[in-house]
Subunit: 327 residues, 2 copies
Amino acid sequence: MKKLINSVETVLQESLDGLAAAHADIVALGPERKFVHRRELNRNKVALVSGGGSGHEPLHAGFVGYGMLDAACPGQVFTSPTPDQIVEAAQAIAGDAGVLFIVKNYAGDRMNFEMAAEIAECRTATVITDDDVAVESSTHSIGRRGVAGTLIVEKIVGAAAEKGADLAACVALGERVNARTRSMGVALTSCTVPAAGTPTFTLGEDEMEMGVGIHGEPGRRRVKRAEADAIAAEMITAIADDLAARAGSQALLLVNGFGGTPTIELYLMYNAARRMLEGRGVRIARSLVGSYVTSLDMAGCSITVSLLDAETAALWDHPVHTAALRW
Amino acid sequence: MKKLINSVETVLQESLDGLAAAHADIVALGPERKFVHRRELNRNKVALVSGGGSGHEPLHAGFVGYGMLDAACPGQVFTSPTPDQIVEAAQAIAGDAGVLFIVKNYAGDRMNFEMAAEIAECRTATVITDDDVAVESSTHSIGRRGVAGTLIVEKIVGAAAEKGADLAACVALGERVNARTRSMGVALTSCTVPAAGTPTFTLGEDEMEMGVGIHGEPGRRRVKRAEADAIAAEMITAIADDLAARAGSQALLLVNGFGGTPTIELYLMYNAARRMLEGRGVRIARSLVGSYVTSLDMAGCSITVSLLDAETAALWDHPVHTAALRW
């Protein structure tokens, strides 16, 4: 295992300390690093809290800041945060408007956020994201997995909360965005969890995993290495068919790197995916290209398409000031 | 070779098409994709042009936009842009204030930018960057290599040009920033050039290359895999000693991923480097963590330290609106 780390026990805490120091103008760490919160709290709005296993950076802590999340709870690598972490985060930032949990659809995450909602002494509601069309259930989830589309939900609902939407409106909006968002991923290599020390799965030199999950979970099938256009075509077909995207729709296209994929390849994949969507008559109204929802050092990428309307497009454009997303 | 590409011949053009489509509000492509330029040209200021081999994305095209570069000339992967590309870019954007070339110190880049300066029918001046302390000369350069510090020169001089600095002032500022900036890198794996199809060099499973160049050129020495703190200590010692950084100095600390390194590791390395610099009495006044000057899919990172004064800190803070850097 080749990683820039000191010991497998301290990877998360050292990385969180680095994040907090590098972006001290935006975020701060809660007690015992249980959560990352905005440096300047605003208790006059719905507070957005997300979280999940680490190893997907910058998700979620990199999205804490004006216009997006109020706090994020990082679990150990690929491990759900504990209910205790989530309760402390919620109670630390809650105002009268309540707290919205944004939770990726994995069994552990859902259970721990549900327990936290029961314990927390503040008003809470939850939006579940499940944008991954690759598989209907997986080793980690019942129902579809929540993947890169989660950041779109966090961004759009974050903007609405900033503009004064109440808790019920934030839930409805989050569910609407999630329902219009689909993703699919491909892995060229496995990731390696530091505590394991060896790759999560093995792929031959001429193999790829189509539909891979962000923890290296199996996807649809193991296939021979293919060209970018063939990969993009399979993913766009699966996404757009499932989304029933009509010609004339406006969409946000996100091409997301898994951590080990260089930018030159991500823009090439974006170019392929864009051509194919436009070929179906979908207009690409907004774009995002980069490594935002990663799987440690996995090489590969995911494609996400989210259908926009005038309201959600304006909320996407609303200013955001976080470590990883800023405009 | 596992890459998200269609053919080795079209990697660059497809990736450039993706960049231009994804950021059509910021950039546009010149004829035959010879250069990337700002969508909205401003001919009432010194125009900044950079360029070099591709494979280092987002450098340089990702830094074209308000507050930074006016144009960038991408060569083929790890290959200098031709004089023809540079001449066309310069002439397309030049106003009366002239054109500043910002050139990394590699033999091919210097030669081609020099030829372009002789041919171009506009006033030009050049700043050479050579921030890499690892080796005094290399397979690609006479004298030190220009690496990640280049983006700091581009950002700070870009802000000055935006505020009306003339060509001579931009040259002086660029040279001053370069003289106060030092970098060093480490590779955990090689990169693979698409047209070659095999890794540029080989490293054993327990080896690293200390002082590696951004084309996979040899560094100072091949060493056994070490902990993050030991790696950071060697790099910070080399950088800070060479910079003669005094206690009380203010610095910008950039931890830069080489393309195959996940964000969780970059923040951990930032945390290590920051502690060591602070231990020497240097105050970290500004920070940047991410993959900005890459080497295709190489795993590893570089550390850059740039000493700031009140003027250069303010210019760093000046608004910037590019594909890769925005505040």
